[in-house]
């Protein structure tokens, strides 16, 4: 198993590099880009939602704040566009400090309520500061990223693809590092039994804050990427649509595993693109898909594939000894 995981890193990188060479159609490239972006978001959200078990609904807020930071920076100040990406990550982290306040005292669904309201408040803040944010008009005309003289959009968005792929790869590394570290284990410990964890010297607030900020950083960067990709930011980014979309990804893929949300992002993006013209049927199919997966595979698609791997990898012997 261990050998397999080590081999998987370069394999993953190679796949990411080769993919756009196989899919040269710009529409397919766009799908790949979206998968990578949603994958980043879903994986980073899963740190708090899945591993730490915090009902964190502020992630969408961090995504939006990242996007707005970039929008404001590149249209209102003359900040170098590439620099806007890390700055957006930082501003999302700062916002996460505010969103974290309720987590200090609240538990469970109450955290969900408070953090959801945080995202809603972002909308009102944006609308209220119309001078800076364009209000309900949004920020338009965000210039595309360029590398030297070539736009990342050129050649079927190959530039955006590789940027997204690089960010996704970094996210995967980050999430894996966190999950396999003591931090990751302490999160599970807190989720299992908070009192016991605290009496073992784990600080709930500190550990939760760390993952909260880590998740926010990734979401902020993803938001910045989104702003450059679309060239426009508006308050939809804080809306219910993204919330359900990303939750579908996480739980379809499997919230218990590192890669589950990524798998979910790929599947949901494909399905929703395939059903682009289906109007209301698109949501019906996606919702039905989530429910079916929840019914038959509690651990999501990732859990299913793991089971399949296990069965295939070590036939019966494992079960006999247990």
């Amino acid at each position: 198993m261990r050998a397999l995981t080590w081999a998987s890193w370069p394999a993953f990188a190679v796949v990411l590099v080769v993919l756009p060479l196989v899919f040269t159609d710009p529409a397919a490239r766009l799908l790949l880009i979206l998968m990578a972006m949603y994958g980043m978001l879903a994986m980073s959200w899963n740190l708090t939602l899945g591993f730490a078990g915090i009902f964190n609904f502020a992630q969408i807020g961090f995504f939006g704040i990242g996007a707005y930071t970039t929008g404001i920076l590149v249209t209102k100040t003359g900040v170098e566009p590439w620099l806007a990406i890390p700055i957006s990550g930082v501003s999302a982290v700062l916002a996460s400090l505010v969103a974290f306040l309720p987590v200090l005292r609240l538990r469970g669904i109450y955290v969900g309520l408070a953090t959801y309201v945080f995202s809603q408040l972002c909308i009102y803040l944006v609308l209220g500061q119309a001078g800076l944010t364009g209000g309900s008009n949004g920020i338009v005309g965000i210039p595309r990223l360029t590398l030297g003289d070539t736009s990342l959009r050129a050649d079927g968005r190959i530039g955006y693809y590789y940027l997204a792929a690089a960010l996704l790869f970094a996210t995967v590394v980050l999430v894996r590092l966190i999950v396999n570290s003591t931090l990751g284990k302490s999160l599970l410990a807190i989720r299992d039994n908070e009192t016991l964890a605290v009496s073992r010297g784990v600080s709930r607030v500190r550990q939760h804050l760390i993952v909260f900020m880590a998740g926010a950083a990734v979401a902020g960067v993803a938001g910045s990427f989104n702003a450059f990709l679309n060239g426009v930011v508006s308050t939809d980014i804080f809306g219910f649509g993204y919330l359900t979309l990303l939750l579908s990804m996480i739980f379809l893929g499997g919230s218990g595993s590192v890669y589950g949300p990524l798998i979910g992002a790929v599947v949901v993006t494909l399905v929703s693109d395939y059903l682009r013209d289906a109007g209301a049927w698109r949501d019906i199919v996606i919702a039905a898909l989530i429910l079916v997966v929840l019914w038959i595979a509690p651990k999501g698609l990732a859990g299913l594939s793991r089971q399949a791997l296990d069965r295939w990898g070590r036939p019966t012997s494992a079960r006999e000894t247990s």
Binding site: P26, L127, S136, N137, G138, G231, D236, G239, R276, D277
Partner: protein
């Protein structure tokens, strides 16, 4: 592009090639009924064209993209899908986003884009450098008239003695979106210029407004002569009106755009009587205007109602406009040629005579071009009360003022 020209000719000889026409429309979400109208209009036009044997050897197929609740994200994705698709030769819409940012995308991708709504935004984008947008044309004219006409009409009615303002005061309700805001700003300016007093203003958030109670309370305490609500969303306007009628003041009520949608009347029925509204882009419902009557008949045959959706009239005209240009230019890949032809065209559409202003790429506004039609519901009918050229009735005092 001589090679593509040959392929299209070859295609024509081989029994006709199918071209796709893109449609951006809010098929789901709060504006879904507008989206449905857009789709119906475009489909009707395409069907008529295909039934007549197509254009220059081509038949059309509609490629609809749902922009959901005008969300920028969905619009972006839709635009990218359509621009990435080689078979899509032109894109039409009633309106897609609230800011029309997609104009830049289509211009950059050199796709033909015919648009209806948010002309202030279109104008803002295009007039900076019209040469950059040879393929983008708006068949809806500048909205400036929205900001002046109601005031001018009110003064006219007063002058004609149809109505006696008590102290020339107006109350203006606006919604927090560019369309409503720019019209409300125009109205405030015009009212003040014409010697009216603004008795009060209220801004509501963009989106569903459920309870107008507190706004009503303010209106009642201001007791104005004229109330304007520029929140164009039909549900909001209907509930505004219903709540107003619970305890009305002696004021004329003008509602921006919403009452044009068939839905408004379906919801309000008798309560609609007396409501004033206007429209720049919908079908001109005048017996003496042939293109409009024809569309009304066709619409009834296709969809069983003669209430032509205003957005449907827009997309119908857009498709027709494109088909005519293609017929002249011949090569669907000569986008620049088609764009240039459209820009110079002068056609009679169901929405009026469409001639484009070269500085803004908007259709020209005026009684001889695309007219601003003012309506009032009277005896449960939508009556055109201005301009005189087309009108079928005259202004009456609304029932709550009698």
């Amino acid at each position: 592009s001589s090679s593509s020209s040959t392929t299209s000719t070859a295609g024509a000889e081989g029994g006709g090639k199918v071209l796709e026409i893109g449609l951006l429309a809010p098929l789901t979400g709060p504006s879904a009924s507008d989206g449905l109208g857009m789709k119906q209009g475009a489909e009707l036009a395409i069907k008529q064209i295909n039934d007549a044997g197509g254009v220059a050897g081509h038949t059309f197929k509609l490629n609809t993209v749902d922009v959901q609740g005008q969300s920028n994200d969905a619009v972006t994705k839709g635009v990218q899908t359509l621009t990435d698709n080689e078979n899509v030769k032109a894109v039409v819409t009633g309106y897609a986003s609230t800011s029309n940012f997609e104009i830049d995308e289509f211009a950059a991708a050199e796709k033909l884009y015919l648009i209806g709504g948010n002309t202030a935004q279109t104008q803002g984008i295009i007039q900076k450098n019209p040469a950059k947008y040879p393929t983008v044309w708006s068949i809806t004219p500048n909205y400036d008239a929205y900001g002046t006409e109601p005031v001018d009409l009110a003064d006219k009615w007063a002058a004609e003695g149809l109505w006696k303002p008590r102290n020339k005061t107006a109350f203006i309700v606006r919604s927090d979106n560019p369309y409503s805001e720019s019209i409300a700003d125009g109205l405030v300016k015009q009212f003040t210029a014409k010697g009216w007093k603004i008795a009060g203003q209220e801004k509501v958030p963009f989106g569903p407004v459920n309870d107008w109670g507190t706004v009503m309370a303010k209106i009642r305490s201001a007791d104005p002569d004229f109330i304007v609500n520029t929140d164009y969303q039909v549900a909001n306007e209907a509930s505004f009106m219903q709540q107003f009628l619970q305890n009305p003041t002696k004021s004329l009520v003008f509602l921006q755009y919403g009452p044009n949608q068939p839905q408004f009347f379906e919801l309000m029925k008798k309560q609609a009587d007396g409501v004033l509204f206007n429209n720049l882009a919908g079908l001109v419902p005048a017996e003496n205007y042939e293109p409009a009557m024809k569309l009304q008949q066709d619409w009834k045959a296709a969809y069983g109602t003669d209430a032509v959706d205003p957005q449907g009239a827009v997309t119908y005209a857009e498709v027709k406009l494109y088909a005519e240009a293609l017929a002249k230019v011949g090569d669907p890949d000569d986008v620049a040629g088609i764009g240039a032809y459209i820009g110079k065209s002068d056609t009679q559409q169901a929405t009026g005579r469409v001639v484009f202003d070269q500085a803004t790429h908007l259709a020209k506004q005026g009684d001889d071009f695309v007219p601003l039609q003012s309506f009032q519901f009277q005896d449960q009918k939508k009556v055109l009360i201005a301009p005189d050229k087309y009108k079928s009735g005259t202004f009456r005092l609304p029932p709550w003022m009698k």
